[in-house]
Amino acid sequence: MNKVVKNAEEAVKGVKNGMTLMFGGFGLCGIPENSLKALAASGIKDLICISNNAGVDDFGLGVLLRDRQIKKMIASYVGENKEFERQFLSGELEVELNPQGTLAERIRAGGAGIPAFYVPAGYGTEVAEGKEVREFNGKMHLLEKALTADFAFVKAKYGDYAGNLIYNNTANNFNNMMATAGKITVAEVEELVPTGELDPNQIHTPGIFVQRIFQGTDYEKRIEFETVR
């Protein structure tokens, strides 16, 4: 089983205007930097992007936003991006904000073949608008639907030719679920190793979920708020 592609340009082949894409990462931690750059360079537009955050103005998803490649964002927290705020308030960008745990579970459910599920988050708020409400154990819940994507872009510390992935520290975040929810999942890794070199006990994402994998280059790994003692 060899899923290795040469580089980011090859990895994003087949992404078309109007597709739904997922991007792993929390803030700028664990984002697929190489795939994002290749997509920005491709000029593909009208994208529906599912990501917890929307990058910052000049990095990550912020670059696709700036170049008006995104039609709709499905996210949970977008506080660090002025261009996002401007496009949203002016109505140029469609935005669906989800409670973070609901977003994570919608993606997990999408990958796991569960079409919908009930959660208490958002009951009695504007998130509940238009959603079925049902009581379980004396508590009100909302029916939330699963999310899948045409392409899911994830980033891991280690990966092998078969697509097995290991994340580093808090750079796992949304990557692990998103890897399961893409029709085509593209993984970029800091260190690509031959199959058999990763300890099977340590794998976070089994290779079955990954269709393409490549060795990333020039990782910037930008820190949003460097805070020291």
Partner: protein, 218 residues
């Protein structure tokens, strides 16, 4: 005198118990970590996928792959674990977190909380706040009693978009500790030197004062 942010955090730290798993929100709640009693083991959870938040790193040792939910660089304590966001919210939604501390723009006398959106102004998103308030066993709100213009944040009804309904149990402000009860805000403690009259004046929602209200011990 009204407490400063650190004073509010110190008072909230008195609510901690040995063995608690705690989620601290951004802002004043984060400061609570500085006042955990030394003889107590409290494990801090960060919803981006860390159980066992440690202190900020030393200068030059920040790891871009190790951040908290506020996207600040942190460290991990001995015995910490990392996991994905779905697992993180299983901890939260599943009721495994003992205490959640978060900030607020407004709280109603019924325990509703508004903390994520000011229409027409800033768009940030709710992040994990809606999941936390809907599922936490115990929620304490850390906030100033009034906004910058002096308007009460403790209201009959919230005016801003809600984060959750009937979920707040206790509020610690710069002026008081209050519990949310069936009949409104029950005054539990006053900040040192702050009168019940001042608290009454600055609380728009129904305030219940029973007997002598003790001062906080900070």
């Amino acid at each position: 005198m009204a407490l400063d942010k650190n004073g509010i955090a110190k008072r909230i730290a008195q609510e901690l118990k040995d063995g608690y798993y705690v989620n601290l929100g951004i802002g004043i709640p984060t400061l609570v970590a500085n006042y955990i009693p030394e003889d107590m083991e409290v494990i801090l959870q960060s919803e981006n996928g860390l159980l066992g938040i440690g202190p900020f790193p030393e200068k030059g040792k920040a790891d871009p792959d190790l951040i908290n939910a506020g996207k600040q660089t942190v460290t991990a304590v001995k015995g910490a674990s990392f996991f994905d966001s779905a697992t993180s919210f299983a901890m939260i939604r599943g009721g495994h977190i003992d205490l959640t501390v978060l900030g607020a723009f407004e709280i109603s006398e019924k325990g509703d909380i508004a903390s994520w959106k000011i229409p027409g102004k800033l768009v940030k998103g709710m992040g994990g706040a809606m999941d936390l308030v809907a599922s936490a066993k115990n929620i304490i709100v850390a906030t100033t009693h009034t906004d910058k213009k002096g308007n009460s944040k403790l209201l009959k009804e919230c005016t801003l978009p809600l984060t959750g309904v009937s979920c707040v149990k206790r509020i610690v402000t710069d002026l008081a500790v209050l519990d949310v009860t069936e009949n409104g805000f029950k005054l539990i403690e006053r900040a040192p030197g702050v009168s019940t009259e001042e608290i009454k004046e600055k609380t728009e929602g129904n305030l219940i004062i029973e007997g002598d209200i003790p001062e906080m011990k900070i």
